[in-house]
Amino acid sequence: MFAYLVKRLLATIPVMGVVALFVFSLLYISPGDPAAVIAGDIATDEDIARIRAKLGLDQPYLVRFGTWLWALAHGDFGVSIFTNLPVSQLIGQRLEPTVALTLCTLIVTVLTAVPIGVIAAWRVGTWVDRVVMGFSVLGFSVPVFVFAYLLMFVFSIELEWLPVQGYVSITEGFWPFLRHMILPSVALGTVYMALIARITRASMLEVLSQDYIRTAQAKGLASRDVLMRHALKNAAVPIVTVIGIGIALLISGVVVTETVFAIPGIGRLTVDAILRRDYPIIQAVTLLFSAVYVLINLAVDLSYTLLDPRIRY
């Protein structure tokens, strides 16, 4: 197990290397010039050229890539071209809201979707099942931003229960933090609730049709025990896989939610950086996301051993 873990972690290094090369090359060939954005509308070609030179953007590809890689190897993500602040500081500012939103969404999603998926499988073919499936289709179909505006209108504008926008750190109090997280988490979580509920239902249905479940029922075990101790545990592997994939999707999906609810997270940092061609930020965030994806996949793989004793690494 330990050897497997080390092997997988070491395998991330070449992956990150390829990602770094790919991202850098993509930005190098993509249209856009931060010097032109900085110089503004009135600037002349000479002004832009001088800014480009000061930023080192006139250097050849290999020099720029080498400089960036060398700094990266020393733990230096560089400095934002526009704000002149260290990229690590900018990411640090933005990490907490994104992690908080992802975790809150995950908690809301798992606590809601897994039980309703189990219930739908248990009551397959009944109105309960149909309601759950109907909800799933709706969850998939309604875009996040539509749902977000709807929630905002009802709970913030009409009822005035929750704030419209913004983020409050948990260090400023749990209730203010929670108030700002409820609407974004529910809005962002809806589509994942639908996904996880459907997968849970399908996986449970498969397990519930197995002989050992029939045996357990024949032994007179209570439905709750059959569902939770025998069926759900065996149905967990695909569910956990989807939850794992969901985390990765959540990280990339927070962009819309962060924009609608004006949450200063990593998603908005990335989009803003792309729009103004702030290369150091784009490169650092992409690498960070890649690392998170790799680690989530690793965590999901490792969780299989806990859920299914037959799986060994």
């Binding site: 249209p31 110089a39 002149n84 908005r268």
Partner: protein, 527 residues
Amino acid sequence: MSKPIPTRIHALALAACLLAAAPAVAQQKVLRFIPEADLRSIDPIWTTAYITRNHGYMVYDTLFATDAKFQIQPQMVDKWDVSADKLIYTFTLRDGLKFHDGQPVRSADVIASIERWAKRDVLGQKLGEMTDAWSAVSDKTFRLKLKKPFAYVLEALGKPSSNVPFIMPERIAKTDAFQQIPEPIGSGPFRMVKEEWVPGNKVVYAKFTDYVPRKEPPSWAAGGKVVKVDRVEWRYIPDSATAAAAINSGEVDWWQQLPPDLIPLLAKNKDIKIENTDPLGSMGMIRFNHLQPPFNNPKLRQALLHVVAQQDYAIGIAGDPKNGKPCASYFTCGTPLANDAGSAVLSGKRDVERAKQLVKESGYKGEKIVVMDATDQPIVHAQALITTEMLRKLGLNVELQAGDWGTLITRRSSKEPVEKGGWSIFHTWWVGPDQATPALNAALRGSGDKAWFGWPTDTRLEELRDQWFAAPDQAAQKKIAEQIQQRAWEVVPYIPTAQFIIPTAYRTNLSGILVSPVNFMWNVEKK
């Protein structure tokens, strides 16, 4: 079991502290403001971005400033005089001017700031050409020696829009003009709380308690900058629907630029006022590539003058006729140099047949016209769509190429033909003050390769501009401005599309918002 007495005492003490602290927090007057854009850079000389200019007005002060009557008034300067030969200007600073780091404002700070600004700004560069030397007479008095008389010294030093000659400490102003300054230390009415700056989200300013405002009433950037709140928070909300919800619910007090489609929604809320506080608005434009066919031919550019319907652009940009209007002048309507010399070609009856005739005379052979569009900029996008449709109606071979603003402003520097990634037309818009004079209106230059993107070449336009700089008085300036405009209708460096205003919205608990081309935060009171 009862609690031990010390614990109770602690609890009571804590409660007392909280009660004592609560009123202090409540008394803090915090102005929450949604700005037009995210503050990306803190250096108003390094970039011309209007949001950084606005930040500059919070943090820095200026030697002179333009008032609502377009007069230049002293701001940091207490008194000044000009020698009889008009070659030496001597300025003395007001008493009590201090930077946010506690240091007094000295002549050395002023000179370093002006010299840095003069390397980047259009008018600053002109002043730089005319300057023999700046020198400090004392800590509070400094001198400008000119090579030859230059009538626009005060206009340059009191320039209202980007780049504004803001005064910084010498150690900061010594930064290369093409590199960003490291810290936002000014002597303006607010100090930036940099530790609380979250780019893309929030900028915080605190009242600078050592600021000494002038005694005169505020008028544009001139007069007393009296701060009536303790703290200002700029909260950047990129989504306009969310911004509308935030001001509706009272989470923010003031939204700088209200999109036209949301005006009816907010107008229903009696606690919100919607006003036009910008007396000059902004000017849209169609800019041609003068180097490449087909718009290297003046006949084709002239043809478009007969079909551009400014009213369409005004509605397309502003949405409401109240907020957009035609302005057939190369100088911002409402400013002293605005005139109607030769304007009938743009303001008269639209004449498609005449335009078609000119297209024919131009020898247009169906060359592809590339209109660059930036869909993330509503003002640019609206203009691009209207122009494209207009060109199609004229029977021209036009292709609308949509991208984002970042791509457009990079691509517009290409002088190649359209087949090699070049362009034919792009649109943009400038705030009114930036097009008020021949000195500021960069798009009116005819200096070829050295001109602004599009690179028109016209020696007559350049000669007239030089004559304008040498004009002895306002009457002469106005006359030359009319000649410049007449010439511009002939060579058509660009076509003005419309003058438009983007209204501002604020909660009724605010008062004292100044009518000005820039949203200033001083004088604003919050109940």
